[in-house]
Assembly symmetry: C2
Homo-oligomer: 206 residues x 2
DNA sequence: CGATGTCTTGAACCACCTCAAGCCCGGTGG
DNA sequence: CCACCGGGCTTGAGGTGGTTCAAGACATCG
């Protein structure tokens, strides 16, 4: 699937769920006047669009940020699989529980952290999640397929302010983010700025 | 369980999940310096504390806001039940999917709405969720066991500002909230202020 | 090589925060 | 039944982090 395409939109009734095989997807919600919040970045392996009940409408949409490969699982198939394979059900429940947990973390970031902390947190999160996919890859550099506007939508800030925050982080020689390329110059200070305790940060680095 | 007691805390390894039978519970996370975010209010019927994987640590805590009755389900029991009863697994997955959905809604509220909208949204949500439990009860009044500080923790505001917002809502004769007693004076304007589309609001009123 | 989307920077503004003081309410003990 | 106490509410004044508006520079792609 091409960049920018929606896998599904808010208000649609979902007849299938998606397993993201490659690429990045933004899960987002919209307010009536167009204000937008990105609530999650789905990376390969993610399960997207689990319905809350049969025939219910989605309250959020999903947009491809890169070229994307997904496997589409019709919800009819899903129900039969869940009926027959308790192992899968349990893994699904665990996955959903983890999604809740990270949603709660994002919420406290947006509700209680300063702009600088929020941006640092997000970059750190994306970096560690990305690196977890290619274990052994220890380069402090990666491609993040996001505009500053999308970072703003994820952190609850305006893209103008995101830009200013990134400028100061660059000036402070902590991270360098320019046209989708992220370089972590000083991991320790990034963790410090993000306000993550060393414990958590390290667990992210597993 | 008495008011103020924690069912569990962030950092503990959960060996059981809870089914809330009566009372209100706040799900919250803490930052190191004490900043606090309430990410969810659990009402009777809620499932609380689903672990992300076996032996994982909770990233959030749960505090009783009222006298509370819970049924405790050891996770060993949970796994055997899930293994044997696919029906239960599917209901659990749906419940978790719904929790994700409401978490996403809260996130966009906190990230993209003004203080006035956030407070209006929260009161509306609590009111409709409460009313859903006693169908047929059409009084525009209820007990909300929250201090203004807790409302602030849920909306990402300070209690001082929550107070100011509540004052203007009272002055505008939209809602009256005083010492835990909520009276909805003008439901239509509350929905309007909350910035919820009539569709959604009505679905909440089902 | 122009077009378009993205980034950058400045100046002015305002929504929300901080600090601080006083008040109200409900509970407790004499 | 009253006095007191402590947690919660209310209000003011001043500060600030983040927004808004706007203009120009920079990448990237046809």
């Amino acid at each position: 699937m091409p960049v920018g395409r929606d896998l599904f939109r808010s208000g649609e009734t979902s007849k299938s769920i998606f397993n993201l095989l490659s690429g990045w997807v933004a899960i987002y919600t919209l307010l009536e006047d167009g204000r937008r919040q990105i609530v999650h970045f789905a990376l390969p392996g993610a399960v997207i669009g689990m319905p809350t009940s049969n025939g219910a409408k989605n309250s959020y949409g999903a947009q491809a940020l890169t070229e994307v490969v997904v496997s589409v699982i019709p919800s009819t198939v899903l129900t039969t699989v869940l009926k027959n394979d308790p192992e899968v059900s349990m893994r699904l429940a665990s996955t959903l529980a983890r999604d809740i947990s990270v949603a709660y973390d994002h919420m406290t970031s947006i509700g209680r952290r300063t702009a600088r902390e929020r941006v640092a947190c997000l970059l750190l999160e994306l970096f560690t999640r990305h690196r977890a996919q290619w274990p052994g890859n220890h380069i402090g550099e990666m491609e993040i397929p996001l505009t500053q506007e999308q970072i703003g939508d994820a952190t609850g800030l305006t893209f103008v302010h995101v830009n200013r925050v990134l400028s100061t982080l660059r000036k402070d020689k902590i991270v360098h983010f320019h046209y989708r390329r992220l370089r972590i110059l000083d991991p320790d200070r990034l963790i410090e700025v993000a306000g993550i305790d060393a414990q958590t940060a390290m667990s992210w680095f597993e």
